[in-house]
Symmetry: C2
Subunit: 369 residues, 2 copies
């Protein structure tokens, strides 16, 4: 019997080129110069090709924020202390975080997932947890081990987290969600993402690592060191299998997002990516199942240097480019408003015929001939 | 007695730096790394500085689309026939144009202004005008004269159109509009805008002109020729006064938009620009009153080559960069959703204190010290 992961990888459909072509034809009949809506037109075709039908209504969006703690976080690779992951989990659910606000703006359901947050932290200034109502508990372990000392997690835990991500995608599809934006939270997770991106692209570690949430030059140097140590200790090279890379230097939330992306693509749900961390997850998913890339939409460009490596590797050009470097899904949430506008154009704009507007001479000639 | 134009130019206020600083302080207290919302944070400060108070509610938006015909349109400088301006005016008001759809998406009032559209066109395939209900009639003349043969309009008409734009801004402010996005329509108007931009920036004509709504290389060459002829015949140089440039090689809708921008800035309404044509109007407005620039927000980057010249000249970086080259205000309308998201962040996000989230060590140290 094959595993859920294997079945899901096999189930990711090809993008439907006929639907993309039909969408382009519909757009060309609208009262506007050919191609003048630029990447909104590309987006309309992409959405249709993923869903397997021309989009004819507003797509019901969900934003999934996956959070987990990282053993490497104790290595001075983040500007923030570990307990912030747990505190932000409560802030997401409580409605006060950036992604909470932007999810409301986008009319999107916000799904906060605990993928392994250290909730028993007993640091002196730990505040009591806000209610965990509204937080999906998908945790198996409460944080990864320190990747500079050995594997971040076992292969079994990695696969289990991926499969929990797949399961959530199936559940969202069943609940009527039609497009999924992804985000993450985890103090220390740019280190993990940097290790994944360095391993899967072969890029030198120092070209991948950046300031994350706000490291200075010294902190970045520590991060570069931690990533190098992690790759060395775990004998990760460009030849290492993607699931092994994920287990040895990845994160629990990253593993979950890999599964969520595969599962969503399998359900024909377009996936809107956020920044660098979700990009690292997308790279792993793409190595497991290249067709998953066709279901993905780059929501935002992160200033984190490794993100451009991800975008190039996947051939993506993001919808939003406003220097956001927060994560959480904030850029993906902003991109959902572009998706919404794109669908409105496709479904509400008049055609040349209906509006009684003259088309350009050469196109009329082509049509007549 | 001074004219309305002179009084308006004098009335444009300085941006309020104290409000910008107060806005930045509020953003720094939110549960996010410092500066991590990138240009959304810049935007929040800019909106506040223009309005003279920290933004504490969703700003009521209007999108003003100014339309007019161009004598130079008969010179083979557009891919579309002249009657399309009139037909699109009806399409805007009828709700079927891209900007109509995007205005609804943005929750913005759409104000369509006839600034001199040739409504008596009697070409064989002219359809009957759709209702002109909802179209503001600001026209003095029904289209400009051919700028390759002499002035597009008299200085008196230019000033009158500018003043009608000012009057609309005053009216919108009185009606409760709090932010104005601008757009335009006019077959042939990229030629006029190119002439203005070449004159005001001193850039070589061939670096300013592009395909507009879809010219081929031959068409672009015709446009370059028309712009050169227009500048020569009208003796326009980099030394020509901006109002003279506007009258001799400008457009009626461009003149109207110049006034709208000045008037809006005078009323402390932020102005969201669209693409190349509105950029040309912004350049003229900036030459008349440099402070108006502080009230402007670049909504979108147009692929039209002259638009980068405008953005550089004004020091702008656009909010949306999706290859839109439609005009109408479509890019400005999309940018309004970024404005909305920015205001939601400012008004709805929790602070570190309120959410019980630990701030970064160094900032806590700074605060304590």
């Amino acid at each position: 019997m094959t595993s859920l992961l294997e079945r899901t990888i096999a189930s990711v459909p090809r993008a439907d080129a006929a639907v993309a072509a039909e969408t382009a034809r519909l757009l060309d009949a609208k009262t506007k110069p050919l191609g003048s809506l630029g990447r909104l037109e590309w987006l309309a075709c992409r959405l249709g090709a993923t869903r397997g039908e021309v989009v004819d209504h507003v797509l019901a969006p969900a934003i999934v924020v996956a959070a987990a703690d990282h053993g490497v976080g104790s290595r001075g690779v983040s500007a923030y202390p570990r307990e912030v992951t747990r505190q932000m989990l409560a802030n997401f659910a409580g409605g006060g975080a950036a992604v909470s606000v932007l999810a409301r703006e986008a009319g999107a359901r916000l799904v906060v997932v605990d993928c392994g947050v250290d909730r028993d932290d007993a640091s002196p200034d730990a505040t009591s947890d806000a209610t965990s109502a509204g937080i999906v508990d998908a945790a198996i372990v409460r944080g990864t081990d320190d990747l500079t000392l050995g594997p971040a997690m076992t292969r079994e835990v990695a696969v289990a987290m991926v499969e929990r991500g797949i399961a959530l995608a199936t559940e969202l599809a069943r609940d009527g969600v039609e497009i999924v934006a992804v985000g993450e939270m985890g103090i220390g997770n740019t280190t993990s993402a940097s290790a994944i991106v360095a391993a899967l692209t072969g890029a030198p570690v120092e070209t991948v690592c950046g300031p994350g949430t706000g490291l200075d030059a010294e902190g970045i140097a520590r991060k570069v060191g931690a990533v190098r140590d992690g790759l060395d200790v775990n004998r990760v090279t460009v030849a290492t299998q993607p699931l092994e890379v994920l287990a040895r230097v990845g994160g629990l939330e990253i593993a979950f997002l890999v599964g969520l992306m595969l599962g969503a693509a399998g359900e024909r749900l377009p996936v809107v990516l956020d920044g660098f961390i979700t990009g690292a997850a997308a790279l792993v998913a793409a190595r497991l199942s290249p067709r998953v890339v066709d279901a993905m939409i780059a929501g935002t460009r992160s200033p984190e240097p490794g993100h451009d490596l991800v975008l190039s590797a996947l051939g993506f050009q993001p919808l939003v480019d406003l220097g956001l470097r927060l994560g959480e899904g904030s850029g993906a949430a902003l991109a959902l408003s572009v998706v919404r506008a794109c669908v409105a154009i496709l479904t509400e704009m008049a055609t040349f015929d209906a509006a009684g507007v003259s088309d350009r001479e050469d196109r009329r000639a082509l049509t007549a001939g």
